[in-house]
Structure formats: C-alpha cells, structure tokens
Symmetry: C3
Subunit: 339 residues, 3 copies
C-alpha cells in the first residue's frame, strides 16, 4: 500500500461563503482536520488564521476581535492578520509567538484557501463559479457526515438520480432509456462527466413549457475540479434543433465539497429562492442522498477504497477518473518512500 496523506494540500479549497462570516466578527470552521478562523479585515481583504492560540492551544474564536487583531480569551494574547503576536498583557509579545496563516481570497462570493505552499498559491487557478452571482441564487451550506470522496462519487455518477431521486427530481427513466454517457477533460484541469439525452419525452416539470407531444434534448454535465469542486450544467432544448431552441435558459449549480475531516464534509450549493426550493434541497440532500452515502461509508468500514476492491461499472467512469486524479495528486505530495 502506498501511504497517501489524508488530503492534497496544494489546491484551492472553499472555506465558506463570504456572507457566512459575521460583519466585524469571525467564522471558526474545521477544515482538513484543523480549526481555522476567517475574518474580513478593515481594508476589505480576508485573513485566515489557525484557530488555536500557541500558548495553551485554546481556540482564538473563544476570544474577541479588536480591529484586525484577534485576542485570545484565556490570557489576552493578541494576533494580527499575518499571525504575529502583537499584544501580551503581561509583558512584551515574545517574537516566537505566532499562529499559522493561509492564503485566502474571495471569488464570486466564496472564500477560497490554499493549505499548501503559500508561494504556489495562484488565484487564477480557482475554478470558475462566476455563474453563482445574481439575486436568483440563494447560497446554501450543509455539513454531511461522510468522506468527501463518497459524496463526489455520488455527484459524478448521476445515474443514481433514477433510483434515489425518482420521487423528487428523477429524469423519469429517460436517462435509463436514452442516456448517452461520456467523460472528458478540458484545459482547466476539469473532468466532465456528461449525460446527454436526445429526442426524449419531456419530464413533468418541462411539459408545461413545450407544445403537446413535443420531444426534447436534455443534458446533465457535471464538471469536476480537484479536490471536489463541482458544477452541474443543465440544459433543455427542443429536440432536433441542435440545442438552439432552448426551452429554459441553461442552468448551472455549484456542488463544492471541502473536507471537514476524513469522515465529514462541508457542502456548498445554491438554490432558487423560496420555501419550496429550500424544502426540495432538504429532501434531496438530507433524506435521499445523505443516508445512502452514509450507508456507503459504513459499508467501507474505514478501509481504503482501492483495497476494498469495489466493482467498477462503465457508469462510474467519471467518478473513478476523479478518484484516480486525486490519488495521483496525493502521491505526488507524499514524501518519497524508501525503495
């Protein structure tokens, strides 16, 4: 067995939606197994500090913020945005007292951090989620008690919609009957897991928008960037128009996963405004997907995915390719093993 580290470090991960961080306060969140503190500085840029005082390891988030300085609530040490201790109530700030910081930038409402070598952090490589801008998108967050790769498996194999989500937003069997599945990569490093359905009977929600008896082309394209930042692109067009006669405007939704730990995940998504959409999200995520993913995690019982030798199906191609990519990245970061 090649001993992979738990997480790839030289990647951008999403920590939070900017709007989750209280004005003049901070957000404490466990990310990749460690607690971090996020806050917006007076100049509008963001800071990310380890949420642990170097003195007695209390969480700094139990303290208070004064300007851009965070004061520990236990013995009063103060740390600035660069992690330096700038205040000790009982004497000068010792030069060795500092907390870790990480690069963090805001993009399209998300706060992205880089847990690897800071000099390699290039904000140009943050995946493009520009489509989440606009008042028609409500930004949502939930926490799942599952390893992020099991959740990514779920999202990268949408064939599950015909079974788990049959009652909620299933594709009414058309994915099963007419779905064509392809996997491809692009120049941004993305893996696309695409389902294309041609000349199908429209599902219930589309029917009111097309003439009686009309048929449609539909596509569900999931874009994946490492570690598990996904975007689902959905389209519906009148059949035979080469996707020119769109029935509804093309849609895209983020499904961005960031490990809280090896067994729990932060899940960032958007939904339409309104109680009905909120209820649908709750149903799909919490009642349909999450119990099944929990069952998967229980089935693996802590074993390594590859060592447990799961059956690989053709419909898995996208999920497996993403897993392999991640595994390669982890190995590339692992210290060289003895021969």
């Amino acid at each position: 067995m090649v001993s992979d580290a738990a997480f790839v470090r030289n990647l951008w991960y999403m920590a939070a939606w900017a709007e989750e961080v209280p004005e003049n306060g901070f957000l404490s969140r466990t990310l990749l197994g460690e607690r971090w503190l996020l806050f917006r500085c007076g100049d509008g840029t963001w800071a990310m500090l380890a949420d642990r005082c170097p003195h007695r390891f209390a969480a700094l988030s139990r303290g208070a913020r004064v300007g851009d300085v965070v004061h520990c609530g236990y013995h009063g040490l103060g740390f600035d945005r660069t992690g330096n201790c700038v205040h000790n109530p009982f004497g000068g700030a010792p030069p060795s007292a500092r907390v870790l910081t990480l690069p963090v930038v805001e993009r399209h409402g998300g706060l992205w951090f880089w847990p690897g070598d800071a000099e390699r952090a290039n904000a140009e490589t943050i995946p493009d989620f520009a489509f989440v801008e606009g008042p028609e998108h409500v930004r949502g967050y939930l926490r799942m008690e599952a390893n992020y790769e099991f959740i990514a498996d779920n999202l990268m194999d949408l064939s599950h919609a015909e079974f788990i989500h049959r009652e909620s937003f299933g594709t009414n069997g058309s994915l099963l009957e007419r779905g064509v599945h392809t996997v491809q990569a692009d120049a941004t490093g993305a893996i696309w897991n695409n389902w294309d359905i041609a000349d199908a009977v429209p599902p219930d929600w589309v029917r009111p928008m097309v003439p009686e008896g009309a048929r449609i082309d539909q596509w569900l394209h999931m874009r994946w960037h490492a570690p598990a930042s996904m975007a689902l692109h959905i389209g519906v067009a009148r059949a035979g128009t080469r996707r020119t006669a769109m029935v509804v405007p093309a849609m895209a939704n983020p499904h961005i996963l960031t490990p809280e730990s090896t067994a729990s995940t932060h899940y960032f998504y958007t939904r339409e405004p309104g109680d009905q959409a909120a209820e649908m999200v709750r149903r799909v995520f919490e009642q349909e997907d999450e119990p099944m993913i929990a069952s998967v995690q229980e089935g693996f019982a802590g074993r390594d995915f590859w060592e447990a030798r799961p059956l690989i199906l053709p419909s898995d191609a996208g999920a497996i390719r993403a897993r392999r990519r991640l595994m390669q990245l982890r190995r590339a970061e692992a210290p060289a093993a003895a021969a």
Copy 2:
C-alpha cells in the same frame, strides 16, 4: 497469547425467528460483525445474502425486492438468491459482480445459518429445539450490549438466580442449601450444567399445587451447544417419587445467543403468552441480568478472559467447560502459527 479469531465459523448460528422476516420483504441484521439480508423465496426456502452491494458497498436493504431478486437502491444492480448480479440498468451485468451468500435453513421457527465452509454445513447438526413449537410459546428477541460469552457464563451458572433474581424467580434459597451441581456431556456435543434439589420446601409458585407441608424435588438443567445455543429444562416432582409424580409438566426454554459483534448479542427466547409474562421477561432480562453482565464486560475492559485471570469457582464448572470448548474450536480454525 494464542491469537484466536473472533468467532468460530463452522457452526450453526441462529439468525432470527422466521416470523421476524416481513412477508415479501427482508430482514437486515448484523451477525458476527457483518450485515446480512434474509428473505423467504417464492418456493418457500430461505436466502441469506451479504447486505452490501459490491459496487459502492451501500446496504442492499436500502433497496427493494422484486420476486427473489434484490435491487440496490443506489444504482439499481439486481442480485438473485445465489448472489449473482442478474440486472444492471446501464449495461450487462458484469460476471464478477456477486455478493456472498450463506447456507440458511428453518428449524422449529428459527432460521439457522452456517458462516463457515458451505460444504461442511449439515442441517442434522442443528441443536434440537423442537420443544418451542406450539401456541403456548411466544417467541421473543432482544439485543444485549455484551459479548455473548459473558451472557453464556450467566446462563451456565444459575447459582446467580439466588442473588440477581431473588425478588423475581429465585429458588428461595433451596439452590443454596440443597442444590447438587453436576456437569456432563452427551453424544450430541452438548454440555449439561445441572442443578438438582432434593426434598426441598416448595417455592411460592409451586405451593398451591402441592398439599400443605409436602416437599419437592426440583431440577434446573441447562443444555449448551456451541457457540451458545442453550436450552433450560425445568422439572418439579413430589419428593421421594423418583420424579414420577410431576407437580407440573416438564418445561424447556430456549436461550439462544448469536453474536451481533464482539460486544453485542442477539438473544432468542420464548415465554408464556400474556402481558404478565412479557413484563417478567423484561424485568429479568433488562433490569436484572443485563446491568450485571454489562458490569462484567466493563470490569474486563476489553481484556481476554483467560489473560485477565478471573477466579474460578466450583460453581463455574459448566461455564468454564463451555468456554474451553469454544476456545478449542476457535484455535482449530486459526491458521497454524509459526513455531
């Protein structure tokens, strides 16, 4: 330390009462540390499959049954009673896709399975519990948070009744004063742990059935088969009649233990019909035995029984003999150790 495996595999274990399995559905139960699915096929025989899809390891019991085929609720793979994958909605069923099955047979209302080598499974060696048949026996099931050998210790040393069960169905001190204790084996592989009480004052429940001042002979014989399938035989006769003048017909009760895990146990029993008998069972098992057995398990704190060097008393003879038998069976199945 000789490294025993957790469980002896080449033995019959009871999985459930047949009546616990829903008609046209299935029962999912963790047995010997693994989840299994049990169902009655259309032809009336029983099937037992690993409750884990080989694709993403989701529990098959989250899916649905169509005839004798179980369909996974995640991506729709279907498995027949032999464990073969006979349906894949997105392509042919891959020949390597199958789930484990175990031999399972019904005997006297119990479903018995064989977790070892299937070719060694001989239903003739299932211990005889024919006495549970008949409407006067209500079949019961409970789950105890304790290793099954600690529960077997309890059942194989009934001297505890004078202390734990003094208020419920104690033998009113006659076991203490006049009990004669013997242990013997029989040709079926059973170990019998017998208490015989001669010429004793009848306990309260017997008194109305004998003349004023009459004395009785009473016996409590516990029969044990590996791993921990027990039957308690109880008799009460007029003293000095060589057990010919029975005060009540001879009785027998099953106490069948099957490990759920190394720290929890399925307990199958019968009781008389009626609320009062149900209440008595609840009291004796849940309020009297279980807390004491939990205390024993806590006292051992995960250590091996023999290494913890418990004090062995003469009254332990049956329990210790059963433990030794099990240990020999485990060692016989263990791979040969290096010299």
Copy 3:
C-alpha cells in the same frame, strides 16, 4: 520520548469528601482510571477496596454491605475490609480470592488515599487543608471533562481571571496594571504562585468596606502540592499598612484535583453557604473555566504537552514549575529504560 506512566502513584490523592459516602453504605468512584469502593467501617475508620469482584469482575458496588463485609450481587462472594474473601455461598472461600485495598485516611473532612506502595504511605504528608473546617464552608464537588493538569494550569496562572472572569470576579484590571508575580517553594514541597497588587483602587466588592478614595493592597497566593492539590489564599488590606489593617479576614479555598481518568477530573472545592454563592460557583466553574479548559484539551488533541511545544510565557512560571515537578515524579517511578 520518555514514556511516563499516566499517574504518579506514591502521593496522597483526595477521593471524596467524607460526607459524600452514605451512612452504612458505600461510594463507588473511578479514581486514576480504576473503580474503587469507599466505606466507613463500624469502628469509624475507612476502607477502600477495588470495586471489582475477582470472580467475574462485576462491580462490587452492585451488591450490598453487611457490616464491614461487601457481598457481590452476582454470585454472593463476600469481602472484608482487608480485601480477603470471607464468604462463598457455594463452598469455602478460596484463599486466592481477594480484592486490592488502598490506604485511606480522613483529614479535615476529606478522604485521602495512597495508590502507591502502602509501606510508603505517611499520613503526615497529606497537604494541610485545616482551613476548610467550620460551618462557614460548604464542601462542593464537581466533575470536569478535562485532564487534571490542564485544570491545574488554569489555577496556577490566575492572570486568566482578567479575561475569563472579567464579568464575574475579575480583579478589575489591577492584576494587569499593578500585579507583581512571584513563584516560590516551601519546606512542605509546595509551589506557591503569588500575585501581589499594591496601592490599587479597590474592586467593586471591596469598595463598601473602605472609605471613599482609599486604596488597598491585595494578594492572591495559590499553593500547589503534587499531584494537583491546591489552596488559594486571598487577602485585602488598607494600602501602606504592611498588611496589618486587613479589610476582610484572610481567606483560603481548596481547589483539589484528582484524576478520574487521563481525560476527566474530580474537583473538590468549598464555597460560602447560600444560593447566591452556589450560583456563582456554577457560573465560574461551568460557564467560564470549563469551556475554556475543554478548548485547551481539544487544542492539544491528545498530544503530550511538551512535545506539542506550547509557547511559555513569564506568567506561566508557577504552572510550568508544577508540571515539571510532576514529570520528574512520574519519571522517577517509571521502570528504568534501556540505555
């Protein structure tokens, strides 16, 4: 890493306040990771037995006491105060049957036990807490989910009062502004961590007791004996009187910590009578100190204190000296390591 044992054994630890033990009954408490039984014998002296029957390891505290003999509730074995088995209902008491006992003595209402070599137990070395006698002291007990050394750190660095307890009984900034911190040892083996504040504005609770505009001298002296038996001595005098003109009589409070396990602690204290004092104790211990100490324990995440390399501040001097003393005692008891 030097492999320290979890606890120093050749020391006096406080097990309970005598008044916690029911008359004619016993108290079962987990101390240093093991369950013990404490009871007052008929002659008024105390007994301390392992709370575990040597037969099947059930807790003896599930049984009953008859005179100075404890009877196991499972199979009736009886043990006297010396730990010898003096009763077996089903035969003679086997000579090898006994339970461990520890030396235990009562001092000033506390029961002190010695978990090390019994012949080294000298009651003269129990730290002096005579000041807890008297009806003006209500003896209290609480259990904290934290390692006792993290709680001792808290008590041995009272500078935290200016931050955690600012709202409850903070020193109103005078510790910060005028506190002089010294650490010293004494002939009893104690480490004293002293804060002395000279010529300060009186805090709110003192103001009614001094003339308008008067200034005070105040001191907070924490006395520590290994393992973590502490006494806080507090004094307030009119400034410039060389502590002769006391504003209130000198006060002292016990803060005696005994490990329940490596991650939880018994905390013995006293308070003034009355609901208001009870409420203050609850607030200070449970709402202010305990969450911060829990955060510290979470921050260390199970790592050894020294290996985690916390930042050492001058205000830590007392806490660090106590930690070093304990580490030396643990190492002195550890078996000699190979060179």
